[in-house]
């Protein structure tokens, strides 16, 4: 599952783990092996999906994300494998 979408906006491409709480991004792909990669897609981290970063845990990890109408926590170890592009947040961040 190593599709490359980062031809046009090279500058804003980064990892989901690098997005700051309060901002939004769009999934481009998941760089993970077979089963783990499939699981991320099952969870909804599909190309084109909008993900909002809600908050980090008090100790800095994991982080809480909102996507496809639900909320979910991921560890940095997993979210750094999700390639995203930054998007301007629709709502002003708190």
């Amino acid at each position: 599952m190593k599709t490359d979408f980062n031809s046009d906006s090279e500058s804003s491409a980064c990892r989901l783990s690098e997005i700051r709480p309060g901002s939004e991004c769009e999934v481009m792909g998941v760089d993970l092996g077979d089963a783990a990669g499939r699981r991320m897609l099952d969870l909804g981290f599909l190309p084109g999906t909008r993900v909002q970063v809600l908050r980090r845990a008090p100790l800095g990890d994991p982080s809480l994300y909102a996507l496809r109408g639900f909320q979910l926590c991921l560890r940095e170890a997993d979210s750094r494998h999700v390639r995203v592009t930054r998007k301007a947040s629709k709502e002003p961040s708190r």
Binding site: R38, D42, L43, P47, L59, L72, C73, D78
Partner: protein
């Protein structure tokens, strides 16, 4: 078969399966349909809970199975494969379901649709139950369920699971899967296309997306706050610890009193002799050794399920996950390990809230390393008898420091063992760690009570019988064969003589070569065997062997004075005491823990493994510590 009544016996019960992602409300729907009467077991070979219940429908009965929550039908582990195997009828004694009931949360339908698409491709009669309609309304969302039904081509029913709203319509629906419509076209099988299919359907169905849950939003600002959140977490965990460490004590003392009153009573009622001994010391004491766990279990699960149902436990896991991840465990294992500091039995039972079976197993296997309160009397006896009461730094005494060290070794060794287990016995491809934070909810009293009752009952039924049997067996071994002591012995000396000549006494002598490298003689060997009933029993057993009239001062004096015949030096020299303390830090000398492990993992393989690895670890560590002390001498 035996439960189905006469009217319905003509037709075999309809077989239904409930499937849905975790927290979608499956179990709530299951309970509402079956009236909280579930048969809970395990699937063969894995530690995944199997819940099945019977439900009376209009014209027939149905057997309904509550499948473990799943995000997808593509399994990523043997534990997850269970769902697919049940649906395909590949599990012995679990015939394939005739119809599938998908459960989806109205507020996160977008996510559930991916699973719905996969299930429709199975081609079985399927209906969809949309739960949490009340929460959808509270969050100002709107769904058109009729349109959803039309678009999917299957029946759709909205329910509010915990209040039973919509359940009548659902029962009606479930009675006749033959009449359910099926989708005109199958959803795509490719993951990305399936997401597009889901989105295109939802465009017509979701009239208004639910907003954020206002209460949850506000409460989380405090509960997940970097400072307040950590403080609250600490407070809750201290409460857990207090609950089973001190607040359960009055009830446990009461049970102790009751047990000794009952055994005294039985002695006055029965003629003195074997039967009276058996009833008083074997049977009643055995029952007591089971019931004694109930206060801790009931208290622990009262708080655990309350906080789970409210929605706090997931937040606690979120707060502590980072620390636990270092150890190779996950946030939800924290409460279980903390509880094991009081007692591994409720601790191991508390691992039920750890969703990943593999993580749960690692947690179960390291839980016995935590310094449970049964070790305290052993530590106290040895430390008070052999560690000089000398001040080290100001008011801090050497005895206190040794106790502290014994307590601190536990988490350190558990950490190391967890890491090793992860890399050896329980290795596997690392899977993304997923945690959902459900909205805060007001818990239902009936469900809460049934959860507490369920865990107490499960303990009594499976673990309790084993504990009762082994404690009676140990009594037999410590009592038989009965010998007539030579005349002229005091009662204390006669008891000591009887014990030395009992089967356990002989066994203690038989294992002496194995424990001699640790400096232990047969008397310690008997104590170790007896401590299998519960660790603290070694104190009473040593008191009996040394003919000490009380297990406190006189036992301390007696063991200090014991001389090793070969060397003429004290038996309990510093290397031996250090080795014995170390042995107790590691060894799993507790049949109640083993029985609970067997019940929770549904096999004797894991308790046998835990007993074995901890025994080896205990022996090696005790030997090593002894050598260090000998070298220092």
């Amino acid at each position: 078969m035996s439960e189905s009544d006469f009217q319905t016996q003509r037709t075999a019960p309809l077989r239904l399966a409930l499937i849905g992602s975790p927290n979608s409300g499956k179990t709530t729907v299951f309970n509402a349909l079956t009236g909280l009467r579930a048969r809970v077991g395990n699937y063969p070979g894995v530690t995944v809970e199997r819940r099945e219940g019977t439900l009376r429908l209009k014209s027939r009965t149905a057997k309904i199975i509550d499948l473990p929550g799943t995000y997808s039908l593509d399994p990523v582990s043997p534990d997850e494969a269970v769902v697919g195997q049940v649906l395909a009828g590949e599990i012995p004694d679990t015939p394939a379901p005739e119809a599938i009931v998908i459960v989806a949360d109205a507020c996160s339908l977008e996510r559930s649709m991916l699973l719905v698409g996969q299930i429709l491709n199975l081609g079985l009669p399927t209906c969809l139950v949309v739960t949490m309609i009340d929460e959808l309304r509270a969050r100002k969302g709107q769904l058109d369920l009729e349109r959803l039904s039309a678009a999917l081509g299957i029946p759709v029913t909205g329910v509010i699971g915990h209040r039973g709203i919509g359940l009548a319509a659902l029962r009606e629906q479930l009675a006749s899967p033959e009449t359910w419509s099926s989708p005109p076209v199958m959803p795509p099988t490719d993951q990305i296309e399936r997401a597009a299919w889901a989105d295109s359907i939802l465009q017509h169905v979701v009239e208004k997306r639910p907003g954020t849950h206002t209460v949850t939003d506000w409460v989380d600002r405090i509960v997940l706050h970097p400072v307040w959140g950590v403080a609250l977490f600490g407070f809750v965990m201290v409460t857990f610890f207090q609950l089973i460490f001190s607040w359960a004590t009055p009830a446990m003392d009461l049970i102790d009193l009751g047990v000794s009153a009952a055994s005294d009573l039985s002695r006055t009622l029965l003629p003195a002799g074997f039967l009276a001994d058996f009833v008083a010391d074997g049977l009643i004491a055995g029952v007591g050794s089971v019931v004694i766990f109930l206060p801790q279990i009931v208290l622990l699960f009262s708080l655990l399920y309350l906080l789970e149902d409210v929605g706090y436990m997931a937040r606690a896991a979120f707060v502590v996950d980072r620390a636990m991840a270092r150890v190779g465990l996950e946030g939800r294992a924290f409460v279980a390990l903390l509880s094991s500091y009081a007692c591994a039995v409720p601790g191991i039972m508390a691992t039920r809230t750890v969703p990943s079976p593999r993580d749960r197993l690692v947690t179960i296997l390291v839980a016995p390393l935590m310094t449970c309160s049964a070790r305290l009397p052993v530590y106290t006896l040895l430390v008070a008898a052999f560690v000089p009461a000398r001040d080290v730094f100001g008011p801090i005494g050497l005895q206190g420091l040794v106790m502290l060290a014994l307590y601190l070794v536990a988490p350190l060794s558990a950490t190391a063992v967890a890491a090793v287990l992860r890399k050896t016995v329980l290795q596997g491809e690392p899977m993304p760690f997923v945690l959902e934070l459900p909205s805060y909810r007001i818990p239902g009293l009936r469900l809460w009570l049934s959860q507490i009752w369920g865990s107490a009952f499960a303990f009594l039924k499976r673990a309790g019988t084993i504990i009762l049997l082994t404690s009676m067996l140990l009594w037999v071994l410590l009592t038989f064969p009965q010998t007539t002591p030579p005349s002229g012995l005091s009662p204390d000396e006669a008891a000591s003589y009887a014990l030395e000549h009992s089967a356990a006494g002989q066994a203690g002598k038989a294992i002496e070569p194995l424990i001699a490298p640790l400096g232990f003689d047969w008397k310690i060997g008997v104590g170790l065997l007896a401590s299998l009933a519960a660790r603290e029993v070694i104190v009473a057993t040593l008191a009996q062997i040394y003919s000490a009239s009380d297990p406190d001062a006189s036992l301390r004096t007696a063991i200090r004075a014991d001389i090793r015949p070969e060397t003429g030096k004290p038996l309990f020299d510093p290397p031996t005491v250090a080795a014995l303390l170390t042995f107790f830090v590691f060894a799993l000398l507790c049949t109640s823990t083993l029985a609970t492990m067997a019940r929770e993992t549904n096999s004797w393989r894991w308790p046998a493994f835990a007993f074995g690895y901890l025994l080896v670890l205990a022996w090696v560590a005790a030997w090593g510590v002894r050598q260090i002390f000998i070298a220092l001498d």
